[in-house]
Assembly symmetry: C2
Homo-oligomer: 357 residues x 2
Amino acid sequence: MTQRKQVTLRDLAKHLNINTSTVSRALSEKSHGMISPDVVKRVRQAATDMGYKQNAAAYALKVGSTKTIGMIIPDLMNPVFPPIIRGIQSVLDQYGYTAFLAYSQNNERAAHTEVEKLISRGVDGIIYAAAFRKDSVVDLCKREGVPLVLVNRVVDQGDVDTVKVDDSLGIRMAVDHLLDLNHRNIGFIAGPKDISVSHIRLRAFTQTMAEHNLKVPPHRIVEAHALSETGGEEAMSLFLRKNPDATAVIASNDLIALGCLTALSQFGYACPKRMSVIGFNNMPYLDWFATPLTTVSIPHFQMGERSADLLLKRIKSDNADFHEEVLLKPKLVIRKSTAPLARNKKKKQAAQDISSG
Amino acid sequence: MTQRKQVTLRDLAKHLNINTSTVSRALSEKSHGMISPDVVKRVRQAATDMGYKQNAAAYALKVGSTKTIGMIIPDLMNPVFPPIIRGIQSVLDQYGYTAFLAYSQNNERAAHTEVEKLISRGVDGIIYAAAFRKDSVVDLCKREGVPLVLVNRVVDQGDVDTVKVDDSLGIRMAVDHLLDLNHRNIGFIAGPKDISVSHIRLRAFTQTMAEHNLKVPPHRIVEAHALSETGGEEAMSLFLRKNPDATAVIASNDLIALGCLTALSQFGYACPKRMSVIGFNNMPYLDWFATPLTTVSIPHFQMGERSADLLLKRIKSDNADFHEEVLLKPKLVIRKSTAPLARNKKKKQAAQDISSG
């Protein structure tokens, strides 16, 4: 281990031949008024000359704040998380906070372990972008009295500060867009249902369809094993075998939607000619894609900013009587993976409607 | 501020009616052998029952290690950095280290400030993926005795542990590929020259061309103001005005290459038919792009892993007598943004070669 010859308060006191407590007060913004300006000046000059630096660990023990926070996300390789993190840090930077980064790998147990580690490091608060619907991390933070803000996901427990996007509205926009394009046989490739966003998006899909008097038979919904490309590819292959009459699908997120495109090309189906596809998230660089994905855009950077704002507020004054929920609006970005239902299909479908009606 | 009722060693001692130092020894893996097994058992049971947790700040003060490291990257929005970070953390996780994440925004002053902050937080070491050719961060870490590993970039100072890719070899592969496709009028869209990778890649380009007896006139090289899409777009517009006869360009990184594609389409030039383009980095999702980019692939995840290995080694035993440099091999990934020189152009060029020869 490298030896750092750290200059201590005691070193300064010895050098100046005064008490350590005097040195401490002279260097403190709070209490230097208690000592003569002349001494303050001498101490501060010596501190600069000798390269004294306040030790963060000593400071933390004294004031009970480390000016650090922990960020926990599922996985940095999912392109929606970098802008959320940047948003969080753009706010933290202004207040002198530094952030730890840790991962849940979409595994509640792993998240719990990471949060325990962060708490033992004395973080002032935690921003958690990985919550499961029922999540022990929430109880852990409550028990330990550590401020917690959830971002992008919600938990069944309630009573937690949350920054989220109106997922239901986003799915409603996606369904309405497909209905405007005359699609009726619409499927949904869901994410794992223990992840809150998957659950909420799927529910919004069946509800919106129901409001338009469109029944969603069970085979129209396939659950992917993960919010990933391979998850989407597998689920879409199954979906296509079960649903030869479907003309559009909504995917629970963009990575699943990309998997859907892969499955479509394996089946020799063109997108959007044979099948329209909508994603969720508006991941970066979609405009560059060979099939630019129509998707629900969520304000990632802003979500990060708002969650950091909320956490700092909570760190400053914890009032357990109420909790805040920030709800941000999504937007539908229409690109080229969705198209009007082809005329011959419409006719065929009308015929089916009559025969089955 | 939330009050955490942290159980202290003193609380345990009081509860058990023994000395604090006995409690401390009983809980220590090093010194519990000094006390009777019976007491050790009682203390540990009480610690569990009362929810005692070792305070990280107290631990840090005692052993002089925080088991934290700092990672500094230019910007998380550049898609090459997430996999590097994941690689770093995959190694750190195994050794119980937690990582701070900070940004330089490609600004040396900002990096310096962040490193100072991290040092005051007592990090055991720093991984710095943002170095400038002449970088004060290197001197700062040396002065403070903080182990430092550079990843992806190098500095002129030397004497620093470094994990990098053989950039020169990567550029050589790119040039050879274009020569194989019969291109001769090849340009280079460089990054800012105070960034080491930009400098090294540009130098490798002119050297490789020279080895093939191809002179590179100054107008064939344009420097982008940043390693970004807009930097590439502006530089490529300028390049195209100056070089109507060019048939291929190599860009200093993928983002610049994407900017080149934008400029080409603004000029109504098709890629690769009118102009071949090669990038550097192999950012994620390129296979999905409408013009899938030929690029030099670098092993990002592995770079992260190796730099964490090197840092941990250095933290364990600092020997200033030698420094390690890990050099990883790049690979050329040929996609569809490069194509053989069109036959009529070849003829035209042959005619030019004769007339000028």
